[in-house]
Symmetry: C2
Subunit: 229 residues, 2 copies
């Protein structure tokens, strides 16, 4: 369960004060398949960064899985994220010195400390599920844009997190690869009650989610239940 109350975020830079989120309120139930949509610059990534404990709100409250994450320190936030959340970054954020395989394996090593044999099977399975099995030995700078994006998706799903935050996860993917990812995520939602929250412009995702929240200039201006799966 995720509850936002009067959530605000102001970026202070020397030149300007940016009100990226201006008092946002919503509740997202466990096992939801939901998406935030809205114009470029409307605050979608900012909101996902707050829910993902990657940044602190300026005001308001944010409850995730019962914890008030708006009050967590940096270290506690990182631990909470590692144990509960899978994050797919808009710019992928892969570790350049690790191969595709090692990037996907990383959360299993760092967070969950699983034995090697279990890790190898899980990583290989997920790379195959996103169509990247034969690219596992490559480094990020040897991969295409959509290949990097799929490695980032596999990495976020590998720990079977309760909550997945996916920022434009299909922006660089063709039709078949995009629907392959959406089906993979829907299966996790159906089998494991994983909650998925997307930020996207992609109508292929918007057509498959149950609820669409519209952000405009840092405000929630609409909420629509749709016919998705």
């Amino acid at each position: 369960l995720i509850v936002a109350q009067n959530l605000t975020k102001i970026y202070n830079t020397e030149e300007v004060e940016v009100h990226a989120l201006r008092g946002v309120d919503f509740t997202i139930e466990e096992g939801s398949f939901a998406s935030f949509v809205g114009p470029s610059g409307s605050g979608k990534t900012t909101l996902l960064n707050l829910i993902g404990c990657l940044d602190k709100p300026t005001g308001g409250r944010l409850l995730v899985e019962g914890s008030d994450i708006s009050s967590l320190g940096r270290k506690e936030g990182a631990r909470f994220r590692g144990q509960n959340i899978g994050y797919i970054f808009q710019n992928f954020n892969l570790i350049p010195v690790l191969t595709a395989f090692e990037n996907v394996e990383y959360p299993l090593v760092m967070v969950q400390n699983r034995p090697v044999s279990e890790r190898q099977d899980r990583v290989a399975g997920l790379l195959a599920a996103v169509g990247m099995a034969d690219q596992k030995g490559k480094f990020p700078d040897q991969l295409s844009g959509g290949q990097k994006q799929r490695v980032a998706i596999a990495r976020a799903l590998v720990t079977n997190p309760k909550l997945v935050l996916a920022d434009e996860p299909t922006a660089n993917l063709d039709h078949d690869a995009a629907y392959g990812i959406i089906r993979l995520m829907e299966k996790m939602k159906d089998d494991l009650r994983t909650t998925f929250i997307f930020s996207t412009h992609d109508t292929r995702i918007i057509g498959e989610v149950e609820i669409v929240y519209t952000l405009e200039d840092g405000r929630l201006t609409g909420q629509q239940i749709s016919g998705g799966k």
Copy 2:
């Protein structure tokens, strides 16, 4: 005019030899509005890198504007690109220590050596045309994904190049921003006979181009004249 004859590209890494392009042939007329499409990993970015003199072919010939660019050295290639081509990178490739304004102004300073007053008007005009006028003083890490993409687009168009290579230019843009960019580009094609070559999965672009080339696994498998503008 762009002519490719039996164009091949092989990436050699320690682990593996990747045949990214396997003998591609095509002719693109001046003033075209054309797009390469195809699955993630099919060779679209690789092909745009060759046409844009950012990389050398492994075999075959590539003629751009009458020059055999497959035989140009690194420096000559960079000069040719600076004078004839505007390139919109799939990962934007903005200079982190320059503001949005300075990033767009950069090609006018480095390549065309225009007087300051002329530069300022041109940069301001293009930033406004992509909806980024009020973000001009920000650095790339203070911009959203789609805002960075629009700065990268403005930078590629600012020198009025003969040829624009656009790699997934609308991947992070909402409906209105995406069509704003497409209209801006169509106007340049109509007014200045600028040639536009896209690499994309975005049906919003595919629906507006005149000709679609399909790449699959490094081969050109289809060419379709469509009803675009």
